[in-house]
Symmetry: C2
Subunit: 182 residues, 2 copies
Amino acid sequence: MTDINFSRGPTSPDSQGATSPAPRLGELRWDIIELLFFAYRDFVGDADHELEAFGFGRAHHRVMHFVYRYPGLKVADLLDVLRITKQSLGRVLKQLLDEGYIIQKTGNNDRRQRLLYATPKGEALVAKLAGLQTDRITRALRDINPEGVAAIGQFLRAMIDRDDPDKVLEAIFGTGSKKPRE
Amino acid sequence: MTDINFSRGPTSPDSQGATSPAPRLGELRWDIIELLFFAYRDFVGDADHELEAFGFGRAHHRVMHFVYRYPGLKVADLLDVLRITKQSLGRVLKQLLDEGYIIQKTGNNDRRQRLLYATPKGEALVAKLAGLQTDRITRALRDINPEGVAAIGQFLRAMIDRDDPDKVLEAIFGTGSKKPRE
DNA sequence: CAAGATATGTCAACATGACTGACATAAATT
DNA sequence: AATTTATGTCAGTCATGTTGACATATCTTG
């Protein structure tokens, strides 16, 4: 076994640390910061393992997820949501199209647009991954009462930037977004 | 403006979708899944912007964070926590050492070990980034009562895998970990 | 003590998923 | 007819992850 001998807190030994120059070393939410790190790591880990079997990565998952959830999403919308460049999106989207997980449909009003839809094959993949993640979430919520669950939802919503919301965020928050605080 | 015309839910148009082959399309926690995605994206985004000014990336942040928080962490511990290979860690660690954000100290009991400590320069960087993230967390928790805050902590803890916990997780959960469920 | 295991570091090659910049096409708008 | 917009694509680069091989110092064990 490796020894469990490290103590907690900033107690550097000889790191020239007698000057203590750091600002606000109390009142920081180290607890939540680290819990978010580990929780998210394991949360996405569920899907990562499954994706390997398909030869896909996280990028493919994100695309599939939002295309399935918001059918008819335009390429431009997807770029807003994922916050990546069209070159980056292009690669994974091309694979998903070629392998039949997503189909494109020319827009009715604007024939330049390519509206995206998940195929049954794509739906099955998304559902499988969401199932794994839902299992984890359900387990985590099991011993929490409805008020607690509501607080969790409120917290997560409040962690999200709402200036310049993309289409998906507008859907989540109910179009009349753009209300930061106060 | 781009039109806000996409409807919700899996209502594919002609994606050969009359067969509906997907398993369990109800009862999935799409809400929490998406909230976690956006919340984490914006949460790490705070630090990302600041890191650019230092010429660092997320990898550097993670290393700095855990070295500061758990002084005397060994290289092997860090590998466990971050779940990356020593070659990956080696690159960012070397930069942080060379630029004076971290120092190494030979282990007392075992002189093969290199115990890691943040320098004052490193502490300042970590504190700055944690400050940004704490601001977001504090804002998000502002209108939530103590019971709600407790529920949030409980939820995040329960989202984390506890089989084979690393040193940091043992510290967070209080060594007697290894209790999965029931 | 000699042999083997362990902790760390490093070289080289490669994959993924980001990025920038440039350019092409089709369709809508002016 | 000219311009703008939505999309696609080529080419190169960067950050960060991976494997595999190997070197060195130090600890542990027979």
